[in-house]
């Protein structure tokens, strides 16, 4: 599983100075404990996933007759995957999830950087009021207002459209504006001021200086936002119950509803939804770790 290894460097331990054997034994014991601890942890994390993987390659008979811990007799039995993929509408789900993620990323990156630019670089009459508004909004957990928001989405004829959830994802993410503003505070105003002296317009300064300088923040924010959207069913089940608008998780929910007795097909469905997110994690692990860890220490 070496390809799963996280991207950090693994420095080889420096050669130990000749120590007395008790110290060495003690350290070996500590290392043993370390590996035992994380061995157990890996079992706890990977075994449930492996069990579903095993189940996904067994047909219904084999699943009922064999132990769930036994490997499938045929690793090339893709029937369950074909069933889950076609009847579970997984391709459609992937498409809709992708639209929500990319749409929201673009919208958030643009609006977030624009808002942070104005709030951080300009002093104007209503600045305090706008800042207060954002602070107020930050303490309202978006999910608690869903019952009332449902009426709004209906009123705008956005029920059962992708635009409804997109607008909610883009419009109610206050945290990112806060983070962009913090990030911008650390960037000196010299660059934009000298560009202005050279005759650049505000829009030009934003486009060629501010937006590119904020790209690192955009990358980590975007990755974390993608994780949130891919995991969200609250907004997606509430506003897009229509079959054609199924996303990966809601497609899986519908599939489970229809085939609740067909465990082996369900296992394949679960794997099909897990797989894209696991790939996403593999590809973006550095950014994910950086985003989470920076946020914890600096935020």
């Amino acid at each position: 599983m070496s390809q799963l290894q996280a991207g950090q460097a693994h420095p080889i331990r420096p050669p130990a100075a000749p120590a007395r054997s008790t110290a060495q034994a003690k350290r070996r014991l500590a290392d043993g404990g370390y590996y035992l601890f994380f061995g157990v942890m890996c079992v706890l994390v990977f075994v449930p996933i492996l069990l579903v993987l095993f189940g996904s390659f067994k047909d219904a008979e084999e699943l009922a007759a064999t132990s769930p811990f036994s490997m499938p007799s045929n690793w090339f039995n893709w029937d369950n995957y074909v069933t889950a993929f076609t009847e579970g509408n997984m391709l459609l789900g992937l498409r809709n999830t992708a639209i929500l993620v990319f749409g929201s990323l673009i919208g958030n990156a643009l609006l977030g950087t624009m808002t942070a630019y104005v709030l951080n670089r300009f002093d104007f009459k209503l600045r305090k009021a706008v800042l207060l508004l954002f602070m107020l909004a930050m303490i309202i957990p978006s999910y608690t207002t869903e019952i009332a928001r449902f009426q709004l989405i209906h009123g705008l004829n956005l029920y059962n459209t992708l635009s409804g959830p997109l607008l909610i994802y883009i419009g109610t993410d206050i945290m990112q504006i806060y983070i962009y503003t913090q990030f911008l505070q650390k960037i000196s105003t010299q660059l934009d001021e000298s560009a202005m002296l050279d005759g650049a317009s505000y829009a030009r300064v934003f486009r060629s200086i501010i937006f590119p300088l904020l790209l690192p923040a955009t990358a980590t924010l975007g990755i974390l936002k993608s994780v949130t959207i891919m995991n969200d069913i609250y907004v997606q089940t509430l506003y897009m119950p229509k079959r054609e608008l199924a996303t990966l998780p809601t497609a899986l929910m519908a599939f489970v509803g229809e085939r609740s007795s067909d465990l082996s097909a369900l296992c394949a469905g679960i794997m099909l939804v897990l797989l894209p997110s696991a790939l996403f994690y593999l590809v973006f692990q550095r950014l994910i770790f950086k985003g989470l860890m920076d946020g914890a220490v600096k935020g």
Binding site: D31, V45, P48, L51, F69, F122, A148, R149, F206, I233
Partner: protein, 296 residues
């Protein structure tokens, strides 16, 4: 003619802020106000008419709605178990902070349950808990603990713990990684100085590590509060809040009150209460943080 600087300033301020502020007002502030408004009515969610009934919804919620209290107790259980688990998470983070062969892979593994799709994870555990030939029961049989076998998702006394176990599986990793970030922010000299003074492992933990990660621990405590109060998708997917309402959470139950039982007014009162609880706890948290730093 080029527009004057002042007017182009105003233009950029207005055009850059108009959309985000409008979205915020319309999709967050306005619904919040509406929520309060609905909570004083008996509205069913679709009739053109609604009647104002004052504080009746809140009265019912407080004195005549045992299901809601059951649900909020369940939220409390999520909070308690997650909080009791913090020492284990902290130990994991401390160990993870050592760089040994494989530690990169262990970090990757720790966070994985948090990143992979949460709905698929919930269904995965439904399979694990399956009463017929399910892996958990088979495991118990294999190690001679058949007596422990129970209806993991159907026994009223067990179901919440089964669901909380899933929540721990999913969210412990992100707590551990945040703690790790806190640990890495502690300068190494502090440990070296403590060692020179002859501090042992526990003393270093008590006087260097724990003060050094206080901020992160506060973030995690807050995540535990709001995460427990907003817990929704695990019970929704795995039990639908059942059997009956035994494993429902407050958020899930308020949605069901609105959309299944068509009692919009009552559901709004529940949502307002949830909102107030979260704001209350977060300001309590802020107050505690502020109080401590002033004393320090």
């Amino acid at each position: 003619m080029k527009p004057s600087l002042a007017s182009s300033r105003r233009l950029v301020i207005f055009s850059f802020l108009a959309v985000p502020v409008a979205l915020l007002l319309y999709f967050l502030i306005y619904p919040t106000i509406q929520l309060f408004h609905y909570s004083f009515t008996n509205w069913d969610g679709y009739s053109p008419a609604m009647r104002y009934i004052g504080l009746d919804n809140y009265e019912k919620l407080l004195f005549d709605f045992p299901e809601a209290w059951q649900a909020i107790r369940n939220n409390g259980l999520y909070f308690v178990v997650h909080t009791l688990f913090i020492p284990v998470e902290l130990l994991t983070a401390v160990l993870l902070n050592r760089t040994l062969r494989g530690s990169g892979f262990f970090r990757f593994t720790v966070l994985m349950p948090y990143i992979i799709n949460g709905i698929a994870v919930a269904y995965m555990f439904s399979y694990i808990y399956n009463p017929i030939n399910g892996p958990l029961n088979e495991l118990l049989k294999a190690i001679g603990l058949e007596s422990l076998i129970t209806g993991w998702l159907s026994d009223l006394d067990v179901v919440n713990y089964s669901l909380i176990a899933v929540s721990l599986w999913r969210f412990a990793g992100v707590h551990i990684i945040l703690m790790l970030a806190g640990l890495q922010s502690i300068p190494n000299d502090l440990y070296e100085a403590a060692e020179l003074d002859g501090a042992n492992f526990w003393q270093k933990l008590r006087y260097v590590t724990i003060p050094g990660i206080r901020t992160v621990m506060e973030i995690i405590l807050f995540m535990n509060v709001s995460g427990a109060l907003l817990q929704y998708d695990i019970p929704y997917v795995m039990t639908g809040g059942g059997p009956g309402t035994a494993s429902s959470t407050f958020g899930l139950f308020s949605l069901q009150t609105a959309f299944t039982y068509n009692n919009y007014g009552l559901a709004s009162a529940m949502a307002v209460s949830l909102l107030v609880l979260i704001v209350l706890f977060s300001s309590l948290q802020n107050w505690i943080v502020k109080d401590r730093s002033e004393r320090a």
